[in-house]
Symmetry: C2
Subunit: 330 residues, 2 copies
């Protein structure tokens, strides 16, 4: 086992202690596993709460801060957080303007966020929910009924967070979040399997010299396995899979995302191929983000997410953000 850990049982708590030490503008409740921007609740502002299994860092806790998430609830590795975490997060960030739950479409997350919404409403917190289900690779998978939620989560959290930061009401923030999800599609490729701390060995078998097209972020099976392809061939396959489903008529935001173990040198090279394919297909690119944002522990590989944007979504994407993993000013 090639892991930089103490024991599998404390991986999430250890990481939260490390986050707390590195990011003084986050309030990290290690025991209850809730990460909150330290100035929450912000008067007059809607709260944005997300969460999910750990192992996808910097998603979600790395996106907590002004202009993006108000709070995040990390579960165990590849395991949904529990409703109690979500209710605590909602209570910590609600200023009376309500809270939006951003939920990736995995069965456990959906059930637990549903239950948390009921519990939070019992406590007098108004809750809206948006389901992220952008992965075009497969419908129904080992963790999901319907499409999986992957890279579009970053777009939803950024744009909903920007709207909330500006003071938009819950109804508007929710509508924007739904629009972003409806305008986004993703496709992922694995070049190696993923190893969880609890198991200590790869969760599936992917021999060297093969790749899996359409992989999920937990190593769920994709569409097909093939002999190794070039970066250009992978870009053709992945971008076409997204475009076949999205059929964008407006400019797109592009996320070229690493799965965790693929070097940034390779991700930038892959981005060159993604941009080539988009140009060939006549799709205009508004903005491009390249890096490891929605990961799967030590899996090698990448995903492409496109989100077609109007002027308002683009303005909100460009709005200032100040989180551990995503930051920019005006």
């Amino acid at each position: 086992m090639r892991m930089l850990i103490n024991v599998a049982e404390t991986v999430v708590a250890d990481a939260l202690r490390g986050m707390a030490a590195a990011h003084p503008r986050l309030t990290v409740d290690v025991e209850n596993r809730v990460v909150v921007r330290s100035d929450a609740p912000v008067a007059g502002r809607v709260g944005i709460v997300s969460g999910g299994g750990s192992g996808h860092e910097p998603l979600h806790a790395g996106f907590v801060g002004p202009g993006m998430l108000s709070a995040a609830c990390p579960g165990e590795v590849f395991t949904s957080p529990v409703p109690d975490q979500m209710v605590r997060a909602a209570a910590a960030v609600d200023s009376g303007q309500g809270v939006l739950f951003v939920v990736k479409n995995y069965t456990g997350d959906v059930l637990n966020f549903d239950m948390a919404a009921e519990l939070a409403e019992d406590e007098g917190i108004q809750v809206a929910k948006v389901l992220v289900d952008d992965d075009v690779a497969v419908t129904d998978s080992s963790f999901t009924a319907g499409r999986r939620g992957t890279g579009a989560t970053l777009f939803v959290e950024k744009i909903a967070g920007a709207a909330a930061e500006e003071g938009a009401p819950l109804e508007r923030v929710e509508a924007l979040a739904r629009q972003v999800n409806a305008s986004s599609r993703s496709f992922g490729v694995a070049l190696s399997a993923v190893t969880t701390p609890a198991k200590g060995t790869p969760t599936f078998d992917l021999p060297p010299g093969e790749l899996e097209l359409g992989i999920g972020i937990h190593g769920e099976p994709g569409r097909e396995r093939r002999p190794m392809m070039t970066s250009g061939e992978i870009a053709d396959f992945a971008v076409d899979a997204v475009l076949d489903d999205l059929r964008p008529t407006r400019p797109v935001l592009v996320l070229v995302n690493g799965m965790g173990a693929t070097p940034l040198l390779e991700l930038y090279g892959f981005n060159a191929e993604v941009q080539r394919v988009l140009t060939e297909r006549g799709v205009a690119v508004a903005r491009t983000l390249v890096g490891n944002y929605v990961t799967s522990l030590d899996m090698a590989g990448c995903s492409v997410t496109l989100c077609q944007v109007d002027e308002e979504l683009l303005r909100l994407w460009d709005a200032p953000v100040e989180t551990p993993a995503l930051r920019w000013g005006r």
Copy 2:
């Protein structure tokens, strides 16, 4: 070979094309391999130029932008850039105030930057140089006479870049860069070997269940190989190796750096242990940065860099920076 590439020969050029597409504020000369902040030369400001072999991304090109590097010259993977690149970079950023070369201590880089400095001076550009040699693991190694330059490069480039941005003269920027290097020490650990695109197989043999203490960023040998240790044991070893040499009397900047393939979840957990050791040894922490910044392609592992700071260095560290990989405002 589990790489997201076309062919080994085009890896660096492909990545530069991908960087150009993602970062409109950089001017990327793909043919000549020079990355320049697009507003260079900045009137009245010293230019800061660095470079080195590719494979350590985001170092150096990811640190080009206001408040940090003026330009970067990427060489082939793990191979020094050539003097011509460095002279072009210097000419592109010199406003008449001179240029500082930030050089990691590897034989090829040192020779080529020396030659470039002479050529640039022949063209009327005033050049100063700072050598970064922070790695306490070994003296003399496969690529180096003396100590290797690793994580401290980030501290040198950030602090020298902040001083230049404020309008400090070349002499002062150079003195600050030397002070940062003299105040910094690093120690790295590999949990897996590194595979270069050209070779396609691991450059050294590190069996699962073993780690190499004191590894370099090109897979150069370290101090010793041991059976796998816990995150806490590694932190004790690495931090003590740094402290034995640095013996800080002031607060430190902490860089907990991933080698490329170690998940952020593990890096944050490792940071918790690094902070514990520093507390136990009575060392005050001023700031902490956690992430993949000075990498070695797909190597799993981490390094710790400490830089002891006075008020001026801390102020310059905190100054605004706007690059692809490091950004913050006031």
